[in-house]
């Protein structure tokens, strides 16, 4: 009776659901997982850097727009004098215009814009953003002297249409070229960074104040 109830030992393997994983299988799994996730982590690290790059780009575009808007639409034509960088100086010395320039310069260029004489300003500056990146900005101005207008078969040269300006030139248009340069390394002056980025804007400002 007892001998019949005892089952002989079997050599059959245990069912698969209870088998588990061997060390080699686990290691291979980790290897595969690592191989898949490594490029993801590398990409995320790179994306972080790119985010800062795009942030700087957006900040530079925003600043360039602000400066160019001020020069094209706000600052009087006669106050923007030719040069690289240009010089802001009111030849008529109107106090209200002087105050406008005084208030506008720190907003446009932040630092480094003081001109050769009191009340004059250079069209350049050094700007530091909230994250610590540095931007150099410079505006050059060129007088367009040989401008003429054609109408009804006649040609009207600038010298016939206007009097000489404060610089002794028959100028009716000024070319404004703006450059912003920035470094992608925090706190680094873009002028000493060969990897610095640049953007440019160009505009022509007409003498509409006569």
């Amino acid at each position: 009776m007892t001998t019949r109830s005892i089952r002989p030992p079997t050599l059959r393997p245990r069912p698969a659901q209870g088998r588990g994983f061997t060390v080699v299988e686990v290691m291979i799994a980790f290897l595969v997982l690592g191989a898949v996730l490594l490029p993801v982590f590398l990409f995320l690290t790179n994306a972080m850097k790119e985010t800062e790059q795009f942030y700087c780009e957006a900040a530079a575009i925003s600043r360039a727009k602000f400066v160019m808007d001020a020069m094209m639409f706000q600052i009087p034509w006669r106050c923007i004098r030719a040069g690289n960088p240009c010089v802001f100086d009111d030849p008529k010395k109107v106090p209200a215009v002087g105050s406008l320039l005084q208030a506008a310069m720190p907003l446009m260029f932040e630092t480094g814009y003081d001109g050769p004489r009191p009340g004059t300003f250079k069209g350049e500056g050094l700007i530091k953003d909230a994250k610590g990146f540095l931007y150099r900005i410079r505006v050059a101005c060129y007088d367009i002297e040989d401008l003429d207008f054609k109408i009804g078969g006649k040609i009207f040269p600038a010298a016939r249409l206007t009097s000489k300006d404060a610089d002794g030139r028959y100028t009716l248009l000024k070319k404004l070229v703006l450059q912003v340069r920035w470094s992608l390394t925090k706190g680094k002056d873009p002028l000493s960074d060969p990897q610095a980025k640049n953007l440019f804007l160009v505009g022509y400002k007409a003498d509409l104040e006569r």
Binding site: P15, A16, Q17, V36, L37, P39, V40, F43, L44, A47, E50, T51, F54, E57, A58, I61, A64, K65, M68, M72, F73, N84, P85, R136, R138, A140, Y142, I144, E145, D146, L147, F149, K150, I151, G152, K154, F156, L161, T162, L172, L173, K175, V177, Q179, R181, L191, N198, L199, F200, L201, V202, G203, Y204, K205, A206, D207, L208, R210
Partner: protein, 193 residues
């Protein structure tokens, strides 16, 4: 017999069937990772290209406003001559000469590397290729009251920027200003509509 059928339903799948699941799980995992990577790459690329597009649109915007200021300047200086050009009826666009490409001093075209932070910046070169032109200019009305005579003009300025110049003129960015300007025929004073 019934009991045996009941047991067969409750049993876990055979080992061969469960191994097939592993392939499905791995494939699903690979697809999820792939989608994640694609989403990350595409979102990053989009921000970069958006910044570039914004800059090119801004360049075109200032060129368009340059063209508009150029037109206003001519209108202020030659208001009577402008009206007479229309009265004569011979010229459909007497402001066709307002074009940055038609005057050498207004040409916006690069000529090698450009950097304002160096000492030698060529006066006749610009950092990118762009242009503006007065596409159409027409007399839309004349107003007479007492001694005041005002003419209204409809002006359309088109500005274009070519980011891939000189390699290609494709993918250019344009900006258009379409405005009406009222000018005094004898003083050149400009007012808005």
């Amino acid at each position: 017999m019934k009991r045996q059928e009941g047991r067969a339903r409750v049993d876990v799948p055979a080992p061969r069937q469960r191994r097939g699941m592993a392939v499905v799980v791995v494939l699903a995992f690979a697809v999820i990772v792939g989608v994640l990577l694609f989403a990350l790459v595409s979102s990053s690329t989009t921000i970069g290209s958006q910044n570039k597009l914004t800059l090119h649109q801004l360049q075109a915007y200032y060129l368009a406003h340059s063209g508009m200021q150029h037109v206003q300047l001519k209108l202020r200086l030659l208001p009577r001559e402008t009206y007479e050009a229309f009265a004569g009826g011979s010229d459909p666009n007497p402001y066709a000469d307002i074009s940055s490409d038609d005057q050498a001093s207004l040409l916006v075209c690069p000529n090698g590397p450009f950097d304002l932070f160096t000492d030698q910046v060529p006066k006749d070169a610009e950092p990118f290729r762009g242009s503006y032109r007065c596409e159409s200019f027409r007399l839309s009305g004349t107003h007479r009251r007492m001694k005041l005579v005002q003419d209204a003009y409809r002006i359309k300025i088109v500005a274009e920027v070519y980011p891939k110049f000189p390699a290609s003129l494709k993918n250019h960015v344009a900006d258009v200003i379409d405005e009406e300007i009222i000018v005094s025929r004898f003083t050149g004073g400009i007012g808005g509509p």
